[in-house]
Amino acid sequence: MLFNSFPFLVFFPVTLLVYFILPKFKMVRTLWLLAASYFFYMSWNPVYGLLLLFCTLVTYLGAIMIQHIRDKQTLRRIIVKQLADDDRVNERFTAEIPEGTAGKKFILFMTLLIVFALLCYFKYANFLGTNLNRLFDRTGLEVRIPSFDVVLPVGISFFTFQAAGYLIDVYRGDTIAEKNFFRYALFVSFFPQLVAGPIERSRSLLKQLNKIHWFSYERARDGLMMMLWGYFLKMVVADRAAVFVNAVYGSWEKQNGAVLLVASVLFAFQIYGDFGGYSMIARGAAKIMGIDLMDNFDSPYFSCTTKEFWRRWHISLNTWFVDYVYIPLGGSKKGKFRSALNTLTVFFLSGIWHGASWNFVIWGVLNGLYQIIGDILRPVRDFFNRLLGIKTDTASHSIIQAVITFLLVDISWVFFRSSSVTEGIGILQSICHADFIKMFSTGIEGYGLNGPELRLLFLAILFVMIIDCFENKGISVRTWLMTQGWAFRILAVSFSILFIVIFGVWGNAYDAQSFIYFQF
């Protein structure tokens, strides 16, 4: 059930209505939302529900056991402290009380192993098999790994990461294991963010799920505005850009490099509109229900460095990697080389998380390298800035930096969009030999979009950038809108809906695009 589908337009209001009508008992509402979330997920494939349930069950039990050991440890510490204060007990006796750390680690390890084994089986089994078979071929070994006939369950990377994050939080003592199975199951399966994030933290979401939420007109209004913005990003920007990008990338060998360049730039906005749109709809839907999900995008194309870009793009995943991979590996505290290696590891994992294919690995590693090289070159850059007297706090400097950052990120998007590394390299080579004169003489119509549609797309992108520019300056257009008079607000909401309904890509004339991030 896509957010931009008719079934969702029925499902969401019904879920919402029942949710607020139900008696104000936490359990009743939890059960209702849980049922709705499983229904939402199983609408793709009912069997997926079992997988989600299994993942939930394993991590629930794992966390309970870890918590049990933690509690025992705490109790031990209290007892030991009390006994230590007691002169009548000798030290040897207190030292003999078991620590229990090894057991906790073992349970964490085993539970994470099961969760990630699930992810690996569904997502990486064939990738590994294919690559190993290639290796065997080269080394002359006559071993063949058969391919598995598995379909990647929607959003598996998201809910496994959310559950794994929770488990690690419980292990670290950052959160207490949730005893109520249904509430925990809802935490893993909460439908707005189940299939494409944001990947929520237990500290924030579990706490909110444990509260009774009353209907709030203001929250509903705000949530609806967020959803509308999400639909605009998805249906007007992303899906229209997708028509052009798919047409060009679908036959990239025959295309002029200049057209490939336009398609690659449009892809940057397609993926932003697609994923940013999804996150916004998810946050809006949750907000109406009284739950705040974390912001996943923060005007990313206004970033002045790639490092900053990754602080503003897919925030929930990147902070997940920082919290659970980068920092445990030592972060930046163990020297420059180790810091660079940790960065590269995180981006390699991020790449492979996005897809079991080498082009995603290249995409990830490239972004890691941007950051490492950026760190290395920073003193050089600063030196030249001082030498040439370049003012770094001016708007023009920021614009140049943002454009360079966008170009670097867009080069990596070429690999992200390509179906293979060879294709990505081929497209970049073609772009290097772009014939702009030919493109201007022939135009770019005929790639699935006619003149008015292309003009609409470029205007919509400009509009998105203007709104992001305001957000970047700390001015929330949504908040501003909500402070206006009721007549203006009504007109704005009605006009927004009408605009999306008319100019959005939906219905059978186009094959409505799925959200790109579902596949991850």
Partner: protein
């Protein structure tokens, strides 16, 4: 003046509290926004809609009189059967429900929908697609067929019966889901579509063309040469018959003449056996040798033009009149609106005729008895055989025919004057010469 108590309590509130909307205000705001949104989406749906289905079926829904006969089929039947000719010549009231690309299954569903609004005495189904092993049709054409029908349970059943996939069905429940893409062809004039009704079909569902294109010819097989196999088409013919019987409607099968390949002829010949088996009439107009391949088609492989349609409708009218003894509605007071419709149709044909420039097209209009003509052919003029044939076919309507009697002009030309029969008013007059693409009206420049 504000009451003192209220004034006092208000002044004690902070400014923020004062500007905060009341609960009732919030509800009002919500409903206002919802109404405005719904209204503007409705207006957009009106602006961007395609009006073909309304053009075709608006008169059907608006007609308060009953129909004796409803015709079903695809474009063959739609171009072939003229309801107003049936009324004029036989007093039969009918509506041509046929539409482009309708499979027999679609015709069955069309009947089921149509009888919810008008229940005829006779339902006639064309057998052109009896061989087709499909229930479905092109989605674009299905909009022509179904969009005008209100969304009822029967319509939903029809859509589900024709299109298996829910995603495909959806665009028939919400046609705006497709038509909103027409925004790129929006002009200020489109706004008028919000309030103005779509243009209407003036001949009770029939479409017509006046072009003349020689049709392919195939050897005509004996009716005993048949295809024995069954087909989805036949299955739905049976369903059509059975539905008619359930509703107390007389089912009739017909075959509109067209350039039928031998394979198609075998299938259509097999309908004789099917009709016998089901105990229904099969009016095989194909084997009646009614039409001329050189003059009666507007495309080479399927559709009749106005001239062909006049011939086929005439034969069909005779058969319907002879077999089912339908009432003559011409003198019935409650059917007086049909006279107006016929007049309007004649005016429409007149207007259309006056805009023609191609001689063959104009001669096709002469098949309609409301027109009469005077023709003069210059002695040196070589007249193509199909023009000769068209002239001969309408000979009875040409009141003045001069040929090779005297020099009529400077060029090798045909002079033609078309008049309204009753009033004698000239509709079109001019000289026609062969300009490479057939005989066309010559334009004379006014002397300076």
């Amino acid at each position: 003046m504000m009451p003192r108590a209220l004034s006092t309590s208000s002044s004690s509130k902070t400014e923020k509290e004062q500007t905060r909307p009341h609960k009732l205000g919030k509800i009002l705001c919500f409903f206002l926004a919802a109404a405005l949104t719904a209204g503007s989406i409705y207006a957009a749906a009106r602006i961007f809609r395609k009006t073909d289905s309304e053009y075709q079926y608006d008169p059907f829904f608006e007609d308060e009189t009953e129909y004796d006969v409803l015709f079903f089929g695809n474009s063959h039947a739609q171009y072939a059967v003229s309801p107003l000719q049936l009324y004029r010549d036989y007093g039969i009231t009918s509506y041509n429900m046929a539409s482009h690309g309708n499979s027999i299954a679609v015709s069955y569903w069309m009947l089921k929908n149509a009888i919810e609004y008008h229940k005829p005495k006779v339902a006639v189904l064309d057998m052109y697609l009896v061989d087709a092993d499909t229930v479905t049709m092109k989605k674009g054409l299905a909009h022509y067929t179904f969009d005008r029908f209100p969304l009822t349970r029967t319509k939903m059943e029809a859509i589900q019966g024709i299109f298996g996939d829910f995603k495909e069905q959806l665009e028939f429940y919400v046609p705006f889901s497709v038509f909103h893409n027409n925004w790129s062809s929006f002009t200020l004039d489109s706004v008028k579509k919000i309030w103005s009704p779509a243009p209407r079909n003036k001949n009770k569902g029939q479409k017509y063309e006046s072009d003349v294109v020689p049709a392919y010819t195939y050897p005509v097989l004996d009716i005993s040469d048949t295809e024995q196999a069954d087909s989805t088409g036949k299955e739905y013919v049976r369903k059509f018959i059975s539905l008619c019987r359930e509703e107390d409607i007389k089912p009739v099968l017909i075959l509109i003449p067209y350039p039928a390949s031998e394979e198609k002829q075998r299938w259509q010949n097999s309908v004789h056996a099917l009709a016998e088996e089901e105990n229904v009439d099969y009016i095989d107009l194909y084997h009646m040798n009614l039409v001329d391949a050189d003059t009666d088609f507007y495309d080479p492989d399927s559709h009749l033009n106005l001239s062909g349609s006049v011939k086929v409708t005439d034969a069909l009218g005779k058969e319907l009149d002879r077999r089912y003894h339908l009432e003559d509605r011409r003198s019935q007071k409650e059917y007086s609106s049909w006279k107006e419709s016929l007049k309007a149709w004649n005016r429409h044909l007149e207007k259309s005729l006056s805009e023609q420039t191609c001689l063959s097209n104009i001669l096709v209009f002469l098949s309609w008895p409301e027109f009469t003509a005077e023709i003069g052919i210059d002695p040196g003029c070589t007249v193509p055989s199909y023009i000769e044939e068209l002239i001969q076919q309408s000979r009875s309507r040409i009141r003045d025919y001069k040929r090779n009697e005297e020099e009529l002009g400077l060029y090798h030309e045909i002079h033609l004057k078309i008049m309204e029969k009753e009033s004698g008013e000239t509709i079109l007059e001019g000289d026609f010469a062969d300009q490479g693409k057939g005989f066309v009206l010559l334009e004379y420049k006014e002397p300076a």
